[in-house]
Subunit: 422 residues, 3 copies
């Protein structure tokens, strides 16, 4: 049965053998590495019956699965449907965007399970995986999907797979530096996912700069239905972002709080996006690209601080600012980046992920620095920032400093890594 | 990057300044009011560690977040994707419907958090919000989305925002009268959400009656793909309705029961919708508008009674009747309302929300009046209707009377409010 | 309001009276049977307050609702959106596929609740239903949706409803034989859902063989947007498959493990699907039918074994093999089946469900036969295979034998049943 094939799925005539070979060899390598290293975490292992008795748990509902699985599925939808469909607004790249996003993500999560496992879940020679590892793998791949948004339409599948391989590796290293060495909090990934992913992608697209791409600008138009498909992506990202920012927070109040803060920030962001989109356009019409993208900036910008005591009005303020920054970015900054800096940012990730990610890192640093035992409660304060063990004596202002250092590290890793891969 | 703009996103030439100003001023007001009034509920506050000890809770899983968050996300999808895409069946209003629905809802939930907070979660000068407040805010905005369905294509964004402002306010007042003064049960909102929202919208559209609208009837046609987009809306509403009706029910059996009753009612409703759609059409063809809408009436009609001991066969009966009533309404009543009463009901909300909502109120009153200690168990009876404190001595038949009064109050509030706003 | 009607929604001129009559009579019969037989399970009944005390449960969160409801909703989305939209890739059958799938499933779940209830939840004359029954009803209807994929475009609604009636009945009988008589494990339904459903559908389509169908081949083409709609179906099936395979597993580690194994298998499957799709096509282009379907085979193939200690690398191996088998099936086997065996398999369910289902049964048998107390732990071993009561002395190798017998029984039931119904 012959069926049409669309632009973007295949240009490279060498691909016939190279793509299959890369995929198969890669998957064989995964099987070998998983065979050597990966096992179930105690909560997913059949020995859990005994584990439960040792840990004095009275109910199966104490299994981490029930704390995190619903959020995991929401994050999963964001990565595969959200990011995939958000990129369908371009007339000719619709299926390519969704299809390649699918391939990249499926490819990346396996490598992410290994890389993050070696750094974070390695015990007596084995990586022990549970639902939290699945969420973290999805997060890691999320940063690849972000970078993909910058180079959409400019690279072959092979190039994308190679980029994924390196980006996941660097992501895990950067995450290790932030979370383990700097002891930084970043549950929603403003720094590790958004800042890192976006600047990585922007560096790569700068290096892949092709002047003649502008001639094929007509391909970049959107059509009526492609805008509705893109809205599916937008809405799923918008709706599930509270799950994204709360998915790996501490059990209990932290997850609860992270969801509320994100909900508030996103709501405020819609209002200022509409305001500025209407204000900056001729005749006051709304630009659909802004509605599809800038409305999400509020979720990015509370990624670090959502699990902290940011408070609902604090979240509104962050969302308020980010809707403005992101929309103004689409109107003025994207054309500037392309014409002056030769950065062709197909989906405008600088406005949706890079700037809001940086703001998110800063908001996180400030919120951490402003923390007091009065606001958090004595035990809540220690739990929220994990001020135990070696970090028992760390003060909020020192924590704020380390948070700020985390932003710089993520930025440097992204720029250096992107340059290397590009 | 110039991109096409579609019908419905902007007609008003004044909008350039008015829409931005309204959005920005509104959002600033929200920030101020949230700053003064809104704080985290104890279960979302970092002090929860201490709270937990006081309340003798042994596990983080006892946090309300884990009881309600999955249902919250389902409701969230219904409001933003369900209602948004359900309205995309019109050829020319597709993006406008989804986009405006997005704007209205994001605008409305903030005001709903405040209004409902003052009435229901106000403690020592502060509104304490948790996941249940987020669900209630989504519910409140749901009634706005319903009303929007009646006036789709007839009003500017500014008018819609003003309508949202007033409707949310009246919704909260009506809800307060029903739940607090009349002590009525309405977890799935047959009265507070559907009856109120639909009659409010119908009154507004009556007042906005424009005879020449009929001339532009061709815009109201649907095309092939718009019907598939609308089915996305339909299916998400249909699938997640059990979450809608169970989201704020009591923990445990009540949530469980509400989901089962709704599942049964919706399944029955599909069968009678198909039967009557086929029967009433020339040549027995199915009308897609019926499939897209009337199949949902079963969910509306068990909104009040789903958490009660309606029983699975009772639910089937309710769904059976509502599929018929709703489909017959689309065939005979909508044209009648338009030609005789000058009510232009773009999406047919009278058939999907108004009539099934009234039926739902009545079914709830009857189910409550028929309750016995035998059926509910001694403790279950008290818990189900909250017959404690001042209501210790209320009998089922009295409760049924109050439930019926709730229907009347909702209807009066909707008609009076709609007239005022219109 | 006249609206266009699409191909597939109605051809039969007799339908005007037959379809309504069948639907109404059926629904009345359901109400009577539900009235006689169906009641709430103890966990959904208002008596649960007392039940809780008897069972010594300290918290409402111990209600099965909280263990299974999120997975139920994911499964619900798979059945109605996943299977429905997966079949929209055909240009002319888009709405018919989604609409009929909706009708079939709503019709089937009611009958499934009764049939499965009589076999599995029948206590003192009543069927007691809870959330697990809803999941099982959705599973049962899933096998009907699979069979529908083979005959898409070839049958009237009435024929589909009759097929649903018989298939659900046979499904319940087959399930009873496997789970109760053979004491076989099959939580994700490789045998009961996929093998049974697919071979049932293939037998029916063989009998409905119409040579002239090939002349209308042009209707089977896809268009650009129909491929994007189909990807919505694909992605929701792919993302939520971990919920499908874990939905009815034992509480705790089994659900956790089933989700992880399925996640791994699906990820591997994408890579080999892309590899073989690219390798087997002219010029190395990717075929969208493969991406839309074969990527899911990994979920089918761990249906039986996902809750066992298959291990992550074992899952990768299964996914690796199934991506290849399924893609090769689309390229070589589907044309062969049609030209030689006169089996017109519209959606290629032989490649997505039949073969991977058989592989899944075999993997399950092998994994069960290879189980040891060392790997599972003493208590975990007994719990995983339910080696209690009459099965106290069953050994892993005997269990493996029974699992293999389950495959044969499912196959025979499907072929015999399909022949009967066809």
């Amino acid at each position: 049965m012959e069926r049409p094939r669309h632009q973007g799925m295949a240009k490279n005539t060498y691909m016939r053998w190279r793509l299959p070979l890369v995929c198969l060899l890669w998957e064989v390598a995964m099987i070998v590495l998983f065979g050597v290293f990966v096992r179930f975490s105690p909560e997913a292992d059949a020995h859990w019956e005994e584990e439960k008795q040792e840990m004095n748990l009275t109910s199966d509902i104490e299994n981490d699965f029930y704390f995190r699985y619903p959020s995991f599925q929401d994050v999963h939808v964001m990565i595969f449907v959200g990011f995939g469909f958000l990129m369908t607004f371009l007339k000719r790249y619709g299926f390519g965007a969704v299809g390649f996003n699918f391939l990249l993500a499926a490819f990346g999560i396996q490598w992410a399970l290994l890389m993050q496992g070696w750094f974070h879940s390695f015990k007596s020679g084995k990586i022990l995986i549970g639902v939290e590892n699945l969420i973290n793998a999805d997060f890691c791949v999320g940063s690849v999907c972000i970078a993909f948004g910058a180079i959409l339409g400019k690279s072959s599948p092979i190039q994308l797979l190679v980029m994924t391989l390196f980006q996941v590796t660097l992501f895990a290293v950067n995450e290790y530096i932030l979370l383990n060495l700097l002891h930084v909090k970043d549950a929603g990934g403003s720094m590790t996912i958004h800042t890192f992913g976006a600047y990585f992608g922007l560096t790569v697209t700068r290096i892949l700069y092709r002047p003649n791409l502008e001639q094929s600008k007509d391909k970049q138009g959107s059509v009526y239905h492609s805008d509705l498909f893109a809205m599916i992506g937008t809405l799923y990202l918008w709706m599930y972002w509270p799950s994204f920012n709360s998915a790996i927070s501490d059990h209990g109040d932290a997850q609860h709080r992270a969801a509320i803060n994100t909900y508030c920030s996103l709501a405020a962001c819609v209002l200022t996006t509409v305001a500025f989109s209407s204000m900056l356009q001729k005749k006051g019409k709304l630009d659909m690209v802004h509605i599809q993208n800038a409305t999400l900036a509020g979720g990015v910008a509370v990624g670090t601080s959502a699990e902290m005591m940011l408070t609902p009005y604090g979240s509104l303020i962050v969302g308020f600012i980010c809707g403005i920054v992101s929309t103004v970015g689409y109107v003025y900054l994207t054309p500037f980046l392309e014409s002056r800096l030769h950065i062709q940012d197909t989906c405008g990730i600088h406005n949706l992920h890079a700037m809001p990610g940086l703001i998110g890192g800063i908001v996180g640093a400030v919120t951490a620095a402003a923390a007091t035992e009065d606001v958090y409660g004595k035990e809540g304060f220690i739990k929220a920032f994990d001020f135990t063990g070696a970090y028992r004596t760390r003060t909020p202002s020192v924590q704020g400093g380390f948070q700020a250092a985390g932003i710089v590290v993520s930025l440097v890793m992204a720029l250096a890594g992107g340059a290397l891969v590009g």
